[in-house]
């Protein structure tokens, strides 16, 4: 009788131990799952915070670049407007024409030098490359126009190269502007393009 009771007790204990072990295992697995999920959530939150911090730093850098380069560009554009106005009024000699073209070329060189000395924010690296290409092709176009004005015969001069340079210049300008718009919109800075 006693043996039977002891046997039952042992079975009960063994079952209980088994239940406890299985229960613990299930608990620990579930706990790990919950913990992992919490950790993942925490990591994601931290990542978002970090990205936002980086983004706000980059946005600030872009805004600063826009302010500094914008000032240079405004000065450049005002100079070009003035030169265009001169060109549209009837100028009296080819020397004046050469002088105006040289001034235009120098204005582009000055803007290029100004840009190359600026610190470029990471997101605007592509824009920088494209803007430099635009300015280089613009300077090249003006150099070709000067060659033309210095040539011995204007009506027999092959000006296909000038046309190509003009086309290239406008192409790089459009590309640079598109890239700038893309970068600015990524940082919600489109309003800077309107000013």
């Amino acid at each position: 009788m006693a043996k039977k009771i002891i046997g039952k007790i042992l079975i009960i204990v063994a079952v209980a131990v088994m239940i406890i072990l299985v229960g613990y295992d299930v608990y620990s697995v579930e706990y790990q799952k919950v913990e992992a999920a919490r950790q993942a959530e925490e990591d994601a939150r931290r990542e978002i915070e970090m990205l936002e911090e980086i983004k706000s730093t980059e946005a600030r850098e872009i805004a600063e670049f826009d302010r500094d380069y914008g000032a240079l560009k405004d000065e450049f554009a005002a100079g070009i407007d003035e030169l265009s106005e001169k060109l549209n009024s009837q100028i009296s000699s080819i020397d004046e024409l050469k002088d105006i073209t040289t001034q235009k070329m120098n204005a582009s060189k000055k803007l290029k030098d100004g840009l190359s000395q600026m610190s470029i924010p990471g997101p605007l690296k592509d824009y920088y490359e494209l803007e430099m290409k635009f300015l280089e092709s613009d300077i090249n176009a003006m150099a070709l126009v000067l060659d033309y004005y210095n040539s011995s015969s204007y009506s027999t001069f092959d000006d296909g190269e000038i046309d190509a340079a003009y086309w290239e210049s406008s192409y790089w300008l459009r590309e640079a502007e598109a890239e700038m718009e893309r970068a600015y919109s990524q940082y919600d800075l489109e309003y800077l393009l309107e000013s």
Binding site: L83, F134, S155
Partner: protein, 237 residues
């Protein structure tokens, strides 16, 4: 007797001098009136030309399409377009009357087609047998040097590199740069012959107040390339 004779002679001399002075004054007044009338006429012609130009621009430059009938990139000048225009389809009516301007000698006149004496009285005129503005060869424009408003009075002051503008009523501006100056005999019509260049020839009498020689100014078509920010509207084509 002698006194009377002297007095009579004096009177005659005084009368002759008075008549001579009166004639001089009348001639001077005549010159001034003629100059004023010619200047007024020149101004009237320019005003008429400008008004016709504005009327045409209000009508979307309909007629100018005859000269330039395709869409070109915005940086194309009249010289560029002229390079691809089929001149065989054009007549002088598509270009004339046009305005000729030379800023370095402050010249601004309306120029007409046909260099006959009647047309030349109105202003500088295109010699019919020569090419049209922008075309290959020498487009020749003749003008009076000292009469009928003296449109070409100062052309001898033109120097290498000076610019000459021909503006059509459709708004196309052909710009020429002075490349040479010659004095030739009236019979030397070879100067009208152009070869492969697109040139303009201004011709007038030489020296002033004489028709013994002809003063010719040769100019070549030149492009005025625009300087706009990025030539923004250049065609992708």
């Amino acid at each position: 007797m002698t006194e009377k004779l002297k007095s009579k002679r004096l009177k005659i001399i005084l009368s002759i001098m008075s008549v001579f002075m009166a004639a001089c004054i009348i001639f001077l007044v005549y010159l001034i009136v003629v100059a004023c009338l010619v200047e007024k006429d020149r101004q009237a012609q320019l005003a008429l030309w400008e008004s016709q130009k504005h009327t045409l621009s209000d009508e979307s430059l309909a007629d100018s399409d005859k000269i330039i009938d395709e869409d070109y990139p915005s940086h194309y000048t009249a010289a560029d377009k002229a390079a691809v225009v089929d001149y065989s389809k054009l007549t002088a009516e598509d270009f004339f009357p046009l305005k000729i301007s030379i800023p370095s000698i402050e010249l601004e006149w309306v120029s007409y087609e046909g260099a006959d004496s009647k047309t030349l009285e109105q202003g500088p005129s295109h010699i019919e047998e020569t090419p049209l503005p922008g075309d290959i060869g020498r487009c020749a424009i003749s003008g009076h040097r000292t009469t009928y408003g003296s449109p070409f009075l100062r052309v001898d002051e033109l120097r290498y590199g000076d610019l000459i503008y021909l503006e059509t009523i459709g708004g196309e501006i052909f710009t020429y740069v002075v490349t040479g100056q010659n004095i030739v005999n009236p019979r030397d019509v070879y100067v009208l012959e152009g070869f492969y260049k697109k040139e303009l020839l201004l011709t007038t009498c030489h020296p002033k107040y004489s028709a013994a020689k002809r003063l010719t100014i040769i100019a070549e078509l030149v492009n005025l390339y625009p300087l706009e920010w990025g030539y923004a509207e250049v065609d992708d084509g």
